[in-house]
């Protein structure tokens, strides 16, 4: 526990500061999301060493949740997906002249939820890690499978498309050395392919290059930003009083949704808005500029970012693209997340958790006075910003393994990612399939070997059987509910 204070060393404080500022900027800028930005700075963070490097990456991850609300409220352009719902009431509040109050409530809600989720993370992560020590290959296989099925259910509009992307990710993960026997597969004798596809190259391509290509066909965002003076940043007592219940509801909901695979922060913000529409005393005002529509979703998306750290830190399983980049960063720094992280690298584990507390305070102090500056960053024309993103992507992809093959992978992933967006396929399930693929393969083959070829060995233990049943139920549930809906419609 005393390792929590590792976050307070000058180097780690600086890493946290740089990470949270970068995160806020990424959150403000439409297009580049936290996962892409984290992949871009990976080469830089590796130089910092594991603790400072991961503190900086984590700072970008939750800083983006703070920044995303700024442009939602001031310009009606969400900086990232988790802030889409904030535009509904946030922008209307700004048009009513309450932009300052909305921004302050968003920052306070983010702070409250962020801090709560760190406390919950600090308590829950070691407990989950201890329970996971009893997990063998069969349990890990079942957990990974359950995660991917839930992910396909929750991502995008079409389950078939999400599932196809998950499988494509698993297939891409089979390129290179196989995880057990060492056989080289699907490399077609290409130099640099033996080590497999670089995760950084694929991520920078899918989330960086593809964004640049996609931004060229999208209409340019409005560039006028309302100026907000520091003294206008005080919500009225009435606004503060009305913000507290949605903030607390959003925090708890967001944290729980954050534990699930998929775009948890985005789903959490929508769920919170939906709940406010049902239970809020002022639900009739929602949609026309109610402070509840800012406080709830903004708390929810920040709490979800904290919740998403639990499966990563205690099980070594990332369920969102951003935590997948964090996992990749950890592996590059020779830190293996999972049940043994706390035992083997307590300073990294507690240092990162400690930095969440510090980062949340920094973000609150930064965001309130500098909100006008951050909002103006959103108006930098894409013709200046996007070329820089391309160069950064190339640097990140090349420096992962110092080979040109990875730059080719980045370019191919970028063009494929652009086509996927145009055809309504989400790239997130592909990235998670790519990350979880080797783990799934290794645990499946190990479980089969341990059970001497008996396929029943996959569900011989209670936890494994429970998770496989849950995965099977999650696979058929949408089809069953659609069938029931159709039958009840016919009955009417």
């Amino acid at each position: 526990m005393s390792d929590l204070f590792v976050a307070l060393t000058p180097a780690n404080l600086l890493a946290c500061f740089v990470g949270t500022v970068l995160g806020t900027i990424v959150g403000v800028l439409p297009g580049l999301g936290p996962a892409g930005a984290m992949a871009l700075v990976l080469p830089l963070t590796i130089k910092l060493g594991p603790t400072a490097g991961l503190i900086m990456l984590a700072g970008i991850y939750y800083g983006a949740m703070y920044g995303g609300s700024t442009t939602s409220i001031l310009v009606n352009v969400p900086g990232e997906a988790a802030s889409v719902v904030t535009t509904i009431d946030g922008y209307r509040l700004a048009r009513k002249g309450r932009a300052g109050a909305a921004l302050a409530v968003a920052a306070i809600a983010s702070f409250v939820a962020g801090t709560f989720s760190v406390v919950a993370l600090q308590v829950a992560a070691p407990l989950v890690a201890r329970a996971a020590l009893a997990f063998g290959p069969a349990e890990y296989f079942a957990l990974g499978l359950l995660g991917l099925v839930l992910l396909a259910n929750l991502t995008g509009r079409s389950r078939a498309k999400s599932l196809a992307m998950v499988l494509l990710g698993v297939m891409l993960a089979t390129i290179g050395m196989d995880p057990l026997g060492g056989a080289v597969r699907f490399t077609f004798d290409l130099a640099g392919a033996q080590a497999g596809l670089s995760f950084v190259a694929v991520t920078t391509g899918l989330f960086g290059v593809a964004e640049v290509l996609a931004s060229m066909t999208e209409p340019e965002a409005a560039s006028a930003v309302a100026r907000v003076k520091f003294r206008e940043l005080y919500p009225s007592r009435e606004e503060l009083r009305r913000s507290v219940p949605p903030m607390l509801r959003g925090t708890v909901l967001g944290f729980l949704v954050g534990l699930m695979p998929g775009p948890a922060a985005t789903i959490a913000s929508f769920v919170s808005y939906g709940v406010e529409k049902k239970v809020s005393k002022h639900r009739a005002e929602l949609g026309s500029g109610a402070i509840e529509g800012v406080a709830g979703p903004e708390a929810a998306n920040n709490a979800a970012a904290g919740g998403g750290m639990i499966p990563l830190l205690s099980l070594g399983l990332p369920f969102t693209p951003s935590t997948a980049v964090l996992l990749s960063g950890m592996l590059l720094m020779s830190v293996t997340p999972g049940p043994f992280l706390l035992r083997d690298h307590p300073r990294v584990f507690w240092g990162v958790i400690g930095s969440f507390y510090v980062g949340n305070v920094m973000l609150l102090l930064l965001n309130l006075p500098l909100v006008g500056l951050f909002a103006r960053i959103a108006t930098i024309p894409p013709r200046y910003l996007m070329p820089a993103v391309l160069v950064l992507c190339a640097v990140a992809a090349y420096s992962d393994n110092n080979n040109i093959f990875d730059v080719w992978v980045m370019v191919a992933a970028g063009i494929a990612g652009w086509a996927m967006r145009a055809l309504d396929f989400s790239p997130a399930p592909l990235v998670l399939g790519l990350v979880l693929g080797p783990m799934l393969e290794r645990s499946l083959l190990q479980a089969l070997t341990i059970a001497r070829g008996d396929i029943g060995g996959l569900w011989a233990s209670w936890p494994a059987a429970g998770m496989l049943v849950a995965a099977a139920l999650a696979s058929v549930a949408p089809a069953v509910s659609a069938l029931v809906r159709r039958m009840s419609r016919r009955a009417v």
């Binding site: 078939a160 089979t174 196989d178 209409p219 894409p382 070329p387 160069v391 190339a394 640097v395 110092n402």
Partner: protein, 149 residues
């Protein structure tokens, strides 16, 4: 055939190609599974999902139209030609990077990209390219010691 039908057909072709390429890896037995097992399972699963997507493509299109009820107007989109040109520029960039090096190739890429994204004239793109390439070279290669091509 709609867009989703073509996507499903493309995915099915990909799955078949992957399965054919994966035939050379042995499956061995379930007790000592070989490197061909997971590629076989993943390839067959993708083929099945592609068929599912193909069958449900029509229904999904109709459901989308029904849920939005025409309320959500698609945003006006700009021409798709320029991203194609930038994609080609990126392919050329990767091809010339080993020969020309990071600084020269990236300078040219930034000039082309900023022109395609909407910068006017040549002076501004050239200055921008000089700034971006120079700063990233100094930051990564000089200061952080990251090797660049």
């Amino acid at each position: 055939m709609g867009r989703d039908h073509w996507s499903a057909a493309g995915l099915a072709l990909l799955a078949i190609g992957y399965l054919l390429a994966g035939r050379r890896y042995p499956l061995d037995t379930l007790a000592t599974p070989g490197p061909g097992l997971v590629p076989l399972v993943a390839g067959v699963a993708l083929l099945a999902v592609a068929i599912w997507l193909f069958i449900t493509a029509n229904r999904a299109g109709l459901a989308d139209a029904a849920t939005t009820g025409g309320l959500i107007e698609p945003a006006p989109r700009r021409a798709a030609g320029r991203p194609l040109v930038l994609a080609a520029a990126l392919v050329i960039y990767a091809a010339v990077l080993p020969a020309l090096g990071f600084v020269v190739s990236s300078f040219a890429l930034v000039v082309v990209a900023s022109r395609l994204i909407g910068a006017a004239g040549w002076w501004r793109p050239a200055l921008l390219a000089l700034g971006i390439t120079g700063v990233s070279y100094l930051l990564f290669a000089r200061w952080l010691g990251v090797p660049l091509p």
